[in-house]
């Protein structure tokens, strides 16, 4: 996957004037860019390796606020919103109600504005999150799959979703002589990059994608209808989701999921992850460190539980 192509493909949601500055940024900067943020009346901001970077009117990137930064006007933020919807707001109503738009190229754009019954109006900011598909990043983790559940935990932006996607791909494609049926519960289209039924990201040959906002309900639906070996979803966070994971486990289906944590010690401090680890559903835990160091530590559950101070 060419990162720069990914960056350039995300630019279709950016108005012409701003796009002209962004498309000529250095390739190295494009590679490291994670987000493009447009806020009405404020400077255009890129998130590069977790840090905000601004663009000045000479097309150069800078780390501090100066007078010559490119400002995105209100009209441009609105235009970006329409571009992201491909001038078809009605076709994205359900997504907009949940605060995001799935882009054709697998990226996802978050939107902010005035929330009304029908969706959102007076759009004030747009955040285009560039999808990263890193083939092979989960080699070690997928290799350790033993039929039990996997939890991928890390701080926001550490690459949990990317790792989950690659784990699913490898297990589904039978990389380690195990062709497993995987059902992916994709609540925001981020895992599959799914648009109109077509997955942009490679999730493997044996993967079924269920796009549903309610992950717990989705897991139950997939369990009953798709007869999977593995159910995978992003960001476990509620007791209901924990309950559905438990139901999957009781039905003999392994669960691969991710969780937000600050660091390893949070695993037992947070109620949902702590309960998940103690339930016996999870057998392998991958802890990702922040995006700058990019380290992955993989633990067996026994190892973690014996180290746990709780």
């Amino acid at each position: 996957m060419n990162y720069n192509t990914q960056f350039d493909s995300a630019l279709y949601g950016v108005p012409d004037r701003i796009r002209r500055y962004l498309q000529f940024l250095p390739e190295e900067l494009k590679t490291r860019t994670e987000e493009i943020r447009l806020r009405a009346g404020l400077p255009v901001t890129l998130t590069v390796s977790g840090h905000p970077v601004f663009i000045n009117n000479r097309g150069a990137a800078c780390d501090f606020i100066t007078r010559d930064l490119i400002i995105s006007e209100q009209a441009e933020v609105n235009e970006a919103f329409l571009l992201l919807c491909k001038n078809s707001v009605y076709a994205h109503t359900e997504e907009i109600k949940n605060g995001y738009i799935i882009m054709n190229s697998g990226h996802r754009a978050g939107v902010c504005g005035r929330v009304v019954k029908e969706g959102m109006k007076d759009i004030s900011s747009v955040n285009i999150r560039i999808a990263r598909e890193v083939i092979g990043c989960a080699n070690t983790l997928a290799e350790r799959f033993d039929g039990g559940g996997i939890l991928i935990a890390g701080p926001p932006g550490s690459g949990k979703t990317t790792m989950l996607r690659d784990t699913v791909r490898q297990l589904s494609d039978g990389i380690f002589d195990r062709f497993l049926r995987v059902a992916v519960i994709d609540s925001r289209g981020e895992l599959s990059g799914s648009c109109k039924g077509q997955s942009v990201n490679n999730l493997g040959a044996n993967t079924d994608v269920l796009l549903i906002e309610d992950k717990a309900k989705g897991a139950m639906m997939a369990l009953r209808t798709m007869f999977p070996d593995i159910i995978a979803f992003d960001e476990i966070g509620t007791a209901v989701e924990l309950e559905s994971v438990s139901d999957c486990f009781n039905a003999g289906v392994a669960v691969i999921t991710t969780a937000h944590i600050g660091d390893k010690s949070d695993l037992f401090r947070r109620s949902v992850t702590s309960a998940l680890l103690k339930s016996g559903i999870i057998s392998t835990v991958a802890v990702l460190s922040d995006r700058v160091s990019g380290q992955v530590e993989i633990y067996d559950i026994g190892e973690l539980l014996s180290d746990s101070p709780f």
């Binding site: 329409l82 009605y90 029908e118």
Partner: protein, 151 residues
């Protein structure tokens, strides 16, 4: 020879003027027909917005024939030759904001456009009834008048 020349000339002048009168009348008829077609196409667009959920570009390409509407880049171009300026303005106003609101807004706007086109079509029908015979007769009379002068 001169008489034959004058006779042939007179017939040609009469026929061409009458034909022009017919063309003018036909243009009125075609405008009415075009407006009726637009009404039907926008009604289909409205229904597809509700039930299909496809994006605007796909719907326009699928529903509208090339001699009615055409996508050129991100713009939608009205390609019909028979509608007048006022009909065109109604369509342009509708197309300009097409896709910028949620489903209910789109369908309301489509319905409004259909209603406006219906009024325009009724006017076009009246125009046709009132003016088609006038144009045809006028063409014939002009032809005869031209022929007399020619002779």
């Amino acid at each position: 020879v001169i008489v034959l020349f004058k006779f042939t000339g007179a017939i040609l002048i009469t026929l061409s003027c009458t034909y022009m009168g017919f063309l003018a009348a036909l243009r009125l008829k075609n405008r009415e027909k075009s407006l009726a077609e637009y009404e039907g196409l926008i009604l289909e667009l409205k229904n597809r917005i509700i039930y299909d959920g496809r994006e605007i570009a796909g719907l326009i390409a699928m529903i509208f024939p090339k001699d009615k509407l055409m996508l050129s880049g991100s713009d939608i171009e009205i390609t019909d030759r028979f509608i007048n300026g006022q009909d065109r303005r109604i369509l342009e106003e509708f197309l300009l904001k097409l896709g910028t609101t949620e489903e209910a807004g789109e369908t309301d706007r489509a319905q409004l456009c259909i209603e406006q086109l219906r009024i325009q079509r009724q006017k076009a029908t009246l125009d046709y009834r009132e003016k088609s015979n006038l144009y045809k007769t006028l063409g014939l009379c002009l032809g005869i008048f031209g022929s007399i002068i020619f002779i």
